[in-house]
Amino acid sequence: MRELTYDEAAVEAVAEEMRRDPKIFYLSTDPIPPLLREFGPERIRATPIAESAMTGMGIGAAGCGFRPIVDWRQVTFCFVAMDQIVNQAAKIHYMFGGQARFPLLFRATVCGGGRVAAQHSQSPYSMFMNVAGLKMFLASTPYDIKGLIKTAIRDNNPVISFESSRLLRLKGPVPEEDYTIPLGLADIKREGSDVTVVALAWLVHEALAAAEELAKEGISVEVIDPRSLVPLDAGTIRDSVKKTGRLVIADEAGPTAGFSAEVAAVATEDGATFARLKAPVKRVCALPVPIPYSPVLENHVFPDRKRILAGIREVLREGPAQAA
């Protein structure tokens, strides 16, 4: 199968949907060149640096029958539009009693690793997860991002595509044929029986590397990529933990009230899952600090395969494991 980068796969998803549906148009402060070339400046619009207006205009046009894509670019730029996201996009369908639909795709680059410091590096998806009325996902492969973006564009609600800055150049197989991936469906990226690692984005790849290494020692790691954050596929996560009895969560965001906390809660509030859990849950996350610039510092802040390995070893050591 042909290979595309994560970034190319995302743009291809947009382009294919735009060819199919003339109601789709695109707003961002700097247009993406191939989209601009193909669709022209009427459908690929360069906006002033006014993300609040841009986001609200997307909502308004959606309510009038269009299907806008609003690209915030770095997720940190969308905080200026937070009212439009949280008070408007998320609530408007509900508070008007469902009388109009607001099909909207928001795109935002998250994660760190670029040495661009605190105002350009953040993984704040859990801030949005707590807001009722928004769907969102964070893909880890070119295949997944294409399928998820297509689903999101066809969805009749605001959906946020968080996209990992570390993966933009990652290549992977992407079929030529049209396909979609439903929201709310986790992907088991590797099957295993001793421990479950729930990981997001770049850390899916780091978890797979860790799993590879542990396989040499006879330890079998299951790697689950939820892909979709809201809705979250609690069933797949719980089934895996019921099987392995151990849970490590790897996330490039800070732990506090993060995605990782939600997964910990999802696992430990379910009776059947809790009953099989043999060791404490382990969160392998960024340190709770703004992201620093200097490579030495930035590298120290983020989790990686080594910390995932250490986390896995910790949950294997702890609890009534040996007894089981």
């Binding site: 002033p48 006014a50 009388q99 769907k135």
Partner: protein, 335 residues
């Protein structure tokens, strides 16, 4: 033009609107007033919940502007939304049922006073966040431009909202893109307890239009014909591809910022009384009588009809069921 409560502006020039249109404008203003008087009473009686913001005293703006619009045109409102709803043609029973928190309300009881919308008539909703609606309706303007059918979008907002970032962002985009927009600032001289004089660098919000190269006009918001004419010019301009305009309507709210009991109102009583003397409804009545376009009998019949319609709306609301508790989880997402 800058207005004091005494009103330095001359009365607007004789309008060439047909008398039935003028009477319809009166009817709509009266409907807003009587609807809100009832809503306010029912709020105090505990039948309406949360918070209600009354538009009484400002009816000339909503009706003056909306009478210059067609059904394909879209508007957005603020937290003070009843007037805009009624002027755009919303259904009184569904409005009242929404205030009563009933299943049959415009939002199935999910929105209340601050969130009445009727997308089917181009009313994109009241909005509880100051200036929050301006970007959304500017998106409706973009939609109208892309649709290419001559539709126009109108943003209603207060003097308070004109100090918020989205106002600026949207005026600039609308001007750059020549969107078919009309921005209508309802300058009632206060944002909650805070006088506009204390928070605005200049008394006229309309002066800001110059920074974007678009027309900015101050009109007496209590003179419905002046409002209508200014809106008409702006709508024509927008429809014909000339881009956005900013119209500032000087007006005044008669009641406190909200209907909440015990809420302070720091405005001077004399100021309130002076503005009551400039009642847009009484003014139109007077004009119509002077032109012999209205007599006592007609007026009384109009009032009776409106009162009956409001009674019917209340009866509908009262008779409507409350939502079922489980319906709280409906409508989070569209199918």
């Amino acid at each position: 033009m800058s207005l004091s409560p005494q009103g330095r502006s001359a009365a607007s020039p004789a309008t060439n609107l047909p008398p039935e249109t003028q009477r319809e404008m009166l009817r709509q203003m009266l409907t807003i007033r009587l609807f809100e008087e009832r809503a306010s009473a029912d709020y105090r009686a505990g039948k309406i919940y949360g918070v209600v913001h009354c538009y009484i005293g400002e009816e000339g703006v909503a009706v003056g502007v909306c009478s210059a619009l067609g059904p394909q045109d879209r508007i957005i409102s603020t937290h003070r939304g009843h007037g805009h709803c009624i002027a755009k043609g919303a259904d009184l029973p569904r409005m009242m049922a929404e205030l009563y928190g009933r299943q049959t309300g415009y939002c199935k009881g999910k929105g209340g006073s601050m969130h009445i919308a009727d997308f089917s008539i181009g009313m994109l909703g009241a909005n509880g966040i100051v200036a929050g609606g301006i970007p959304i309706v500017t998106g409706a303007g973009l939609a109208a431009q892309m649709e290419g059918k001559g539709g126009v979008a109108v943003s209603f907002f207060g003097d308070g909202a004109s100090n918020a970032g989205p106002f600026h962002e949207c005026l600039n985009i609308a001007a750059s893109w020549k969107l078919p927009m009309v921005y209508v600032c309802e300058n009632n001289l206060y944002a909650a307890q805070t006088a506009a004089a204390a928070t605005h660098a200049l008394p006229d919000v309309a002066a800001r239009a110059a920074g974007y190269g678009i027309p900015g006009e101050v009109v007496d918001g209590n003179d419905i014909f002046a409002v209508h004419q200014a809106a008409h010019r702006a709508v024509d301009r927008a429809r014909s591809g000339g881009g956005p305009s900013l119209i500032e309507c000087k007006t005044y709210r008669w009641r406190a910022h909200t209907e909440r009991k015990g809420q302070p109102d720091y405005r001077e009583q004399a100021e309130i009384e002076a503005w009551k003397g400039r009642d847009p409804i009484a003014r139109l009545e007077r004009q119509l009588r002077e032109e012999s376009a209205l007599d006592d009998a007609e007026l009384q019949s109009m009032e009776r009809q409106i009162t009956a319609a409001i009674e019917a709306a209340v009866a509908f609301a009262e008779a409507s069921p409350f939502p079922l508790p489980e319906q709280a989880t409906d409508d989070v997402f569209a199918a």
